[in-house]
């Protein structure tokens, strides 16, 4: 399911004295079945952008096309359920959305809202809890008895349980330990390889370099760059303006460059960097 933004502008509190621009004429295509990362400074409009995809926000002008659906300022709030079933959204700190008395019921909540039978929803809960790396015995516990990291996984399972085609992740690993981060990121990469479209909002450039196929850079509500990470991170202009920072491997490669190494394109992952260094050392 391809997602296209056509000249989307979003103004908060439009037509009021306190109106402020969230998005400014953004045109962007998010390709089907790929892993797209959206980066930008805090307050640049990343979260505003993704909230348009499941019509939590509607454009003030322009349109958003999600599969066959077109969302404009006139789209009304009825009949949005099919769209929200297709587009799952994991919010920042999603553990604050848990409310049922058992983990199982909480994971079943989404699928049941989208019309699954109790049996199907229960089955989904059992599959999902394992998928996010938790034990099935947790299903009968109260979500409020879990640790922060476990709550995060249950919340993610609750979103994935509705089997969305597109999954939007708003900083899903914020505040997790390094091992948890790696597990969760690998889970999303697996999902993408199984045919889902993943959209990730993040500040972590290493994640972008390691996992994303495409990236988009938002700055003050405007889209300023889009393309594969390898190309975007080689864009000198962006780096000079300080709107983008490099992943660790690339900034290390830059330092090596000053000491006589030569890279046609900056390696952005640790594997690429390793291969390059090996080749150059052996070649000389």
């Amino acid at each position: 399911m391809e997602i296209t933004f056509e000249h989307v502008t979003h103004s908060y509190e439009a037509n009021s004295p306190t109106a402020s621009l969230g998005l400014d004429d953004v045109s962007l295509t998010i390709k089907d079945k790929l892993f797209t990362a959206i980066v930008g400074q805090t307050g640049s409009g990343k979260s505003t952008l993704v909230r348009h995809i499941n019509a939590l926000l509607k454009p003030t002008s322009g349109k958003v096309i999600v599969g066959k659906r077109v969302i404009t300022s006139e789209t009304n709030n009825k009949n949005l359920k099919p769209l929200r079933k297709q587009v799952g959204m994991v919010f920042q700190f999603p553990e604050s959305q848990l409310f049922e008395d058992t983990v199982e019921k909480d994971i079943m909540f989404g699928p049941m809202n989208f019309g699954a039978t109790e049996e199907e929803a229960r089955k989904a809960a059992h599959t999902m809890i394992k998928l996010v790396g938790l034990d099935e015995s947790l299903l009968s516990k109260s979500p409020f008895d879990l640790s922060g990291g476990q709550m995060r996984r249950v919340a993610i399972a609750g979103v994935l349980a509705s089997d969305p085609e597109t999954v939007i992740l708003d900083e899903p690993t914020a505040g997790l330990d390094p091992v948890g981060r790696l597990e969760i990121m690998n889970l999303f990469k697996d999902l993408q390889e199984k045919g889902k479209t993943i959209i990730l909002i993040t500040h972590n450039m290493d994640d972008v370099a390691d996992y994303a196929d495409e990236m988009a850079v938002i700055h003050s509500g405007k889209l300023i760059a889009q393309g594969p990470p390898k190309e975007v991170f080689n864009n000198q202009e962006l780096l000079q303006d300080d709107v983008l920072t490099l992943p660790h491997s690339a900034s290390f490669a830059k330092e090596l460059q000053q000491k006589g190494f030569h890279f046609d394109k900056l390696p952005i992952t640790i594997n690429e960097l390793g291969t390059e260094i090996k080749q150059q050392l052996n070649g000389d």
Binding site: P17, S96, L98
Partner: protein, 265 residues
């Protein structure tokens, strides 16, 4: 949530902003009291002129004040309509069953309308030009005499300022939780009453849970920074009462005298 103007602070700078919040707070209440003294066209016109002058002094866009009226528009309309059709009269212009329409009714309805506008405008002016923290400081300062009868003034003031500080935070949290549950397929405001009420459970529970955890974290953070109880603390924000504020009180007194004169005129 965005539509409510009353109770919101708008950063700015003008003479009204620089007045002492205690004075502003008390005089706003005082003004709401004297609005009811007005009883004829001249006195209402005078009060309206006074309020518009205060609004002008604040240098705030007039649109904000009009917006402040919007949430209670129907209440105003309802009250005005009641006055318009139920004021008893000896010379009704129009009469049908229990409904009467008369000149007296029209005049009284007009007064009620202006009274609403005056009260909303002046209280919007107070909240737009005074930060919530200034308001809670002034309440503390005004309640101080109650300490003599063992009323816990500092504790109440502390609770008030914490509550005010967390209102926007909890509003954000509510919006966020609502969005998260919408994304999981909850429809708010659809279906029959019972279904609508039930759809709020997935908001209320997480909101209560996060309030508890915020309260817990805040209490720990306060204790570790040496907070024991309200007694024996010094103050960082000190309110100062100066010439401008005396002038404001004097001005209000003049307004009252003119009003009393117009009233019996």
């Amino acid at each position: 949530m965005d539509k409510i103007i009353l109770g919101r602070y708008l950063p700015g700078d003008s003479i009204i902003y620089r007045l002492d919040p205690r004075g502003k707070f008390l005089l706003t209440f005082y003004f709401v009291g004297i609005v009811f003294l007005a009883n004829n066209v001249a006195s209402y016109a005078f009060l309206l002129a006074f309020v518009l002058f205060a609004v002008y002094l604040s240098k705030i866009n007039f649109g904000f004040f009009i917006k402040g009226l919007r949430p209670i528009f129907w209440l105003i309309l309802f009250t005005v309509a009641l006055q318009l059709f139920f004021t008893p009269s000896n010379h009704p212009l129009w009469h049908w069953g229990i409904l009467t329409f008369s000149k007296e009714g029209m005049v009284i309805a007009g007064y009620i309308f202006i009274r609403f506008v005056l009260i909303i405008f002046i209280s919007t002016l107070l909240t737009l030009t005074t930060t919530p923290i200034e308001i809670s400081d002034s309440i503390e300062s005004i309640l101080k005499p109650l300490k003599k009868i063992n009323f816990p003034v500092t504790q109440v003031a502390l609770m008030l300022s914490i509550a005010l500080r967390f209102v926007p935070l909890l509003v954000d949290e509510t919006t966020k939780i609502m969005d998260a549950q919408r994304a999981r397929g909850v429809d708010f405001g659809e279906g029959v009453l019972i279904k609508r009420i039930k759809s709020f459970v997935p908001i209320l529970i997480p909101l209560f849970v996060s309030s508890f955890s915020i309260a817990y974290d805040l209490a720990i953070a306060m204790e570790s920074r040496g907070y024991k109880d309200g007694e024996g603390r010094s103050k960082y924000r000190v309110l100062s009462w100066d010439k401008r504020d005396n002038l404001m009180v004097l001005f209000m007194a003049v307004v009252t005298i003119i009003l009393l004169f117009l009233r019996s005129y």
